[in-house]
Amino acid sequence: MDFVQNFPAISILLCLFAGIISSGLKSKAAKYVNTALIIVVAVLSACTLFYVLNTGEAFVYVMGKFPAPWGNEIRAGVLEAFMALFFCIIMLLSMFGGRKKLVDEVEESKTFLYYVLTNLLLSSLLALVYTNDLFTAYVFVEINTISACGLIMIRQNGRTIEAAARYMIMSLLGSGLLLMGICMLYDLTGHLLMSNIKEQVTIIASSGEYGIPLLVTIALMSVGLAIKSALFPFHAWLPDAYGYSTVSSAAILSSLVSKGYIFLLIKIIYRVIGFDIFGASEIIDVLFIFGLMGMIFGSLSAIKENDVRRMIAFSSVAQIGYIYMGIGMGTQDGMAASVFHILSHAATKSLLFIAAIGLTDVSAGSRKFIDLTGAAYRNKWAGVAFTVGSLSMVGVPLFSGFISKLLFAQAAVQVNGKMLPALIVLGISTILNAIYFMKTVIRIYTPIETDQYSSITFKNMKLYAVTLVCFIVLNVILGVSSQPIVDLIGQGLAMFS
């Protein structure tokens, strides 16, 4: 076995160790440990990615000396390694972007806990990405949920506590449904390992013996993960959780936490249930319809919103709707478009959250639209970044959002019956996106004659500005040279089955 194959396991364990050790460190040391950890994990993931690309096939890694159905296993393919690398990059940038703000928002003596939570969150994300075992996935879903709650409520004001409580209730409901699904699946197949379950599920499905329990299991798992990733009717927890938490938390939650669950769902579809069996069930249509509804209603709520951060949060509901629409199409192309949209949304939404905080800071901390007038002149870097993020969300060429919309449209054309609704809703949603994002961009670029606000220059926000530039570059890379990434995703999805 090659040494590189140890890297996925090592990166998960490193994150857990870093979390444990950080709990005994001072804030400053914890900060350095966190940064170093994310960089190391990113390097390890990149090595894994190159290794897997070279060998051209996924490998499984047995955690311990007992092989598969008895022991735990993790698995790394192209898509897993790429996702891990991408998550690390986004997390690093999000942490950098919110670093200065963190001092104001979190009590000094509790800052080290912030880094503990982040480290463990990263470990759970990596485990969700790499796992080949449903129960391991469940355990790390729990870690993910609890650390996300902590990240929301570490900024101690009434709204965040309420948001955290709401998030916890909804999220635990989702975990409960997922657990029920896993239990039923275990009862039907007698395995917890993904590849073994898939063998058994194929046999069950072809014999038609346990048709109803299998359908309910698929429903429970899909709905459970949909609740956790804020698909449309289950999104009630989202605006407060993203709108009031610290900026790094909002960026991480919107771009990574919900994406981790969606990735797990994709993994379950491919590696547990089987793509064809999932496609033949009615659940896929339900996800499709919920996705379409989310695209419209999320945007409508965002238009009505008068608070810029809550508006961005509601826009997430619409974007999650896109992803589920792609999953709901039931084709390889739709799935590939969804995975690309995971990347593009993660890169854009964290950029928007971080840019928005720069704009509100130079407007005396107010998040109302009327106060944001001319904010882009007071903080030029944030203004440009916000514009780029908005253009990408709307789907203007050159930026990542355009490619994902193009991929969705191309995928939709090939699907019988779902083509028309998908294309129509895609069009409507794009217009709605344009309404609220362009409204904000015009607002922040409207000149205003007043000196009641202070402006900020590059000197006072070097790290912040550099982070924004990195985000913009990431967005443009995703938008301009999308073909290699799309190929990579296709290759990764092919490796799944």
Binding site: L13, G19, W70, S109, L117, I143, M153, G190
Partner: protein, 320 residues
């Protein structure tokens, strides 16, 4: 009754105290124990009105019910729709369960090679008489490491929520600590004096015998934590802090988790690379057997005890 000893000397013996207690002429606790009756909450018209005003204020201010039509509508249909939803879900799940394989049927899908190997060769492969311990700490050790981290992160979250760091507030919390309870409750102290050592020893026994008999790190740790909580509620934080303060708590927690992580990583990585690890399995049934199970049980026990105690202390006064 004739007495051999003079009255004064007799009054010093235990027999005198015992008979005095038996006859009820003196209650040893009277005057020794600080009696602190709980204050009854006064319910007057004013407090009721105040409470109702508060409730109304929350509705008006936080949720803005007057202007938010959606919320008002939502309020009305909420209960009905919640009940309806639950009933539908329960019915659906019951319906599904009726299609699942019947319990105890030997041809069920879950009676397969997985459980067969756990039961048949679990003893040789893990060295643990307690198959459940062997399963969760050897075959599926990675999951259990994750579970332990769930506990760890739960403490972190409670700390985020409840830890008091402001110096003035902290002093106040410490001062208010005994608001509702008497100090040095002799009955509680007497009971704790007898019970605590037994509970500690029993907890340690359960942890150390995790691989031989029912029990293990999680249950033993919970017993230890309960003992600590009993001790602290009987003797107060000052006495507890002599042997278990925040510093020691941190050291114990981090050491336990790190040890678990190191043992676990050693086991996973060596096992995955096909290298034989040098942890002897020992003779099944002996106390020093079971390979990695015993040290991991000790680590998990420490972590669980720390977590239980930390929860109690944080909820009680916002700090250890």
């Amino acid at each position: 009754m004739s007495r051999l000893k003079p009255q004064k000397e007799y009054e010093k013996t235990g027999a005198f105290h015992f008979f005095r207690w038996l006859s009820g002429s003196k209650d040893p606790y009277l005057g020794e124990v600080e009696m602190k009756p709980q204050k009854e909450v006064e319910i007057t018209e004013a407090t009721i009105i105040e409470r109702m005003n508060e409730k109304q204020m929350i509705r008006d201010k936080v949720y803005d019910v007057k202007h938010n039509r959606q919320l008002l509508f939502f309020d009305r249909i909420y209960v009905a729709s919640a009940i309806l939803f639950c009933v539908i879900l329960v019915g659906l799940l019951l319906y599904t369960v009726s299609y699942l394989p019947k319990t105890g049927n030997p041809t069920n899908p879950d009676n397969n090679e997985v459980s067969e190997r756990y039961i048949e060769s679990g003893l040789q492969e893990t060295g643990a008489l307690n198959i459940v311990s062997g399963m969760i700490l050897t075959y599926r050790a990675f999951d259990t490491f994750g579970e332990t981290n769930v506990l760890f992160i739960a403490t972190c979250c409670v700390m985020v929520l409840l830890m008091v760091d402001d110096a003035i507030l902290k002093k106040q919390e410490v001062k208010n600590d005994r608001r509702y309870e008497p100090k040095n409750d002799a009955i509680l102290q007497g009971t704790a004096f007898v019970l605590c050592p037994i509970i500690f020893i029993f907890g340690i026994y359960v942890i150390l015998n995790g691989h031989l008999s029912p029990g293990g790190g999680f249950s033993g740790g919970a017993i230890l934590g309960a003992g600590l909580i009993l001790y602290v509620s009987a003797f107060g934080f000052k006495k507890t802090q002599r042997f278990f303060n925040e510093h020691i708590y941190k050291i114990a927690k981090i050491t336990a988790l790190c040890m678990y992580g190191i043992i676990g990583s050693y086991f996973y990585i060596l096992g995955a690379n096909g290298i034989e690890n040098h942890i002897p399995l020992g003779t099944p049934g002996h106390i020093l057997s079971g390979g990695i199970i015993l040290p991991i049980d000790i680590c998990v026990g420490l972590e669980v005890a720390c977590t239980m105690y930390a929860f109690y202390a944080l909820f009680r006064r916002g700090g250890l």
